[in-house]
Point group: C2
Chain length 455, copies 2
């Protein structure tokens, strides 16, 4: 496993130095290997330990004596396996305290900081760095999701698998990332919180600075039991956690996908100032789905004023729907769709945000052209730069009007226009309903901020 | 648009004859074009009409006189645009009735039958045919989803965009697909049902033969309004629809993704005979998420008997969790994971179904090998055939034990093992929670079947 995780680090293009330590090998994956931490030419900033359980604590102490002040301990066999493990974990904590070491784990998968190509999990992250940080009591959720985020275009800043939290716990990480400048939103996966009082304090302080989303699975009998055998975490009464999240502005979600969706929207968009949502679409079904979801999530889809409707009527063909949902049907004026209409609606002041369906780049046309071996030609080379230009403006609307704009599509970054949006701060969620749900997370956060502004 | 849709038909490899009819062109996309329907060398089985609104009815009548008995009318400008359109639609209905024509639409996107390469929507379907049929009051949901289903590996049999339902409505389609042998599950997208009584009758008859899932968006104020302007459908009281679905065994869902997930599970798996679910995983986080979701969905995650636990203990290493959730942690014995353990659990009779996380093919290792330019070698060539062989057995378990087995993964068909599963009737859903939710849809259907068996 150590070699596998080193492979990820190399894959990721880590831009610092790497020194493998191995009892027998003279090189590992092409890097000169050292017999012991004492043999390295310099003191490393971080030691990453994948060792048999029994030698973890003595090796950690060696590292400490060699001057190392930070370690990630991947090895398992501690608190999570019962009494003997708990004893071993206490010894690990003693070493950390004695030498003032920062230790992540044990029983974790690793940490990532994509801004410097640091990825010690065993999954490669094949995207540019972003601004969402995941702090997780599950190693899986800190790394198996990279393929998923890539597919949809959401980008991560850091991930931490906190493991058994022997020294550094989830709350410490939360406190750290509250002030870490590249993190714009924090997603927490929680099986149980040990120090509830401190969580509430830190979470509240953090929410004032940046949004926090939490997936808590320990509130049901089965979820709590699973968490206990996983990381030794104590679940707890669902309503107590619920109350703590509400109090502290932490947006609670019930699924991993909701967690990622909400974190994406929260990291990149301003919250809607109110509950009035515009549904903008060029397809009736997604329009109706978004409208239905808006009501389910407590949003209004207000009828537009006569003035706004008459402005829209000037732009749109007679087959379109001018009110709310605005449905362009087969109207293909891209400038209207991506620029004039959203602008007009945002400037009207009649809504607090837009959920949208209907952005398409060239994927469909390229696929057909290719499939038909050139028998059909679409004006791809003309339309692609035009769409790109229009979307440049489009992606600036949330910032300019201080109102969120969320797009949904059944496609992801395989389409150029959707990738453009994702790369420029517009969440592209994989169904109309998920777009609305992410909008609801944004609304909740904005609403908490208004109620909890510092005096 | 007509040319675009013809392009899809060609792309799809339709295995019948195609005759373009065009007033001016002598060829269309390489096919000889005809001036009029009367000029064709034979009477076509189906006419697909993309014409200016005004000439639709006269051209439909020409087709009828030429002996055509089935048409899909894509053109809009009928009931959905108000009074004049409604008049036009009545004329269309008169023609259909006069000549005994089956007409889909108007204002629809088309129909697909992937078994014969018929796809008259403008989206290419790049998969093998499957056994799920979508009948939709939204054209979008009958075709924009093809890229999405391909990503995850669920496969479609037919799709019908019913449009304004002037002649053939959603209920007629339901009745037809109830007896269409290649359709194993039916997904309905509904904005409103005109003839509730008939719907209840047909839906109940259909549910007895095969499962039906429905996404109804007309139960909220905004959803109903959107549906009205989209297809002129009348939404209705949410609780009335809810009651009708419950009564008739139709599984109601609230999002498009849930609709597709549920249809996939229902098409390929037997319903669980009871509420006891085994959570099987090699990763703690997804295990806890699935356990938590099980309880939320009303399932039990029962503790195993001492006997079953001791059998599991013989196979698993000490770091694993032997109870339920069964967490293999880093245990890499593929035969145990894909064969011995699920078999043992299903044979025990202690659970009614399994939700699972942890199937991985070679994608991860291929990516790393490639990224490291051969500096690392994984035993891919040995493991791939082994996994494939093991999965052959694995995919037969639901049928053999008459209990469902649902897998979740953050990856889709880009991974060989997950594609293998999807291709062989195991739904691979994109998050642990969605796996459990699809299991809940299965449970609901099975439970209705037991209560509504014909005496």
């Amino acid at each position: 496993m150590g070699t596998g995780q080193l492979a990820t680090l190399i894959f990721q293009g880590f831009n610092g130095k790497i020194y493998p330590v191995h009892p027998k090998e003279s090189t590992v994956l092409g890097y000169k290997a050292y017999r012991s931490i004492f043999d390295l030419p310099e003191t490393p900033d971080l030691v990453f330990m994948v060792l048999p359980t029994d030698i973890v604590v003595p090796k950690l102490e060696e590292c400490a004596r060699a001057g190392v002040r930070a370690a990630v301990v991947v090895s398992g066999g501690f608190r999570e396996v019962g009494k003997a493990g708990l004893e071993r974990e206490k010894m690990l904590v003693n070493v950390a305290e004695k030498y003032g070491m920062v230790v992540i784990g044990p029983n974790c998968i690793g940490v990532s900081n994509f801004h410097i190509g640091l990825n010690t999990t065993y999954f490669p992250y094949q995207q540019d760095p972003g601004d969402i940080t995941i702090i997780s009591q599950s190693g899986t959720y800190s790394c198996h999701v990279y393929g998923y985020t890539r597919k949809f275009g959401m980008r991560l800043s850091h991930t931490v698998s906190v493991g058994n939290q022997a020294v550094v716990d989830l709350i410490d990480c939360l406190e750290y990332f509250a002030q870490e400048p590249r993190t714009k939103a924090i997603a927490l996966y929680i099986e149980g919180i040990r120090d509830g009082k401190r969580f509430v304090k830190v979470a509240r302080e953090t929410s004032r600075k940046k949004p926090v989303v939490a997936l808590f699975v320990g509130g049901t009998k089965a979820g709590a039991k699973a968490g206990m055998s996983h990381t030794g975490a104590l679940g707890g009464d669902n309503s107590i956690y619920d109350g703590a999240f509400k109090q502290t502005g932490v947006i609670r979600v019930n699924t991993v996908e909701e967690m990622l969706d909400a974190a994406w929207a929260l990291a990149t968009l301003p919250p809607p100032p109110g509950k009035r949502i515009c549904v903008l679409t060029n397809a009736g079904g997604p329009g109706a789905s978004m409208a239905d979801s808006c009501n389910r999530e407590g949003f209004e889809v207000p009828e537009f004023s006569d003035e706004l409707k008459s402005h829209l009527r000037e732009i749109l063909p007679h087959t379109a729907s001018f009110s709310n949902p605005v449905d362009l049907t087969y109207f293909m004026d891209l400038q209207a769709m991506y620029e004039r209409i959203p602008k007009m609606i945002l400037e009207s002041g009649e809504v607090d945000g837009i959920v949208m369906y209907g952005v398409f780049g060239s994927l469909l046309y390229r696929t057909l052209e290719e499939g038909l071996g050139g028998r059909i030609k679409y004006p791809i080379e003309q339309v692609v730069p035009l769409v790109r230009e229009l979307l440049k403006n489009f992606v600036s609307f949330p910032e300019k009007y201080q109102k969120p704009l969320i797009v949904s599509s059944f496609w992801g970054t395989e389409d150029d226009a959707l990738k453009d949006l994702a790369d420029n701060g517009i969440p592209v969620l994989s169904s109309p309903e998920r777009g609305v749900r992410a909008m609801a997370a944004l609304y909740k956060y904005g609403s908490w901020l208004r109620d909890n502004a510092r005096v």
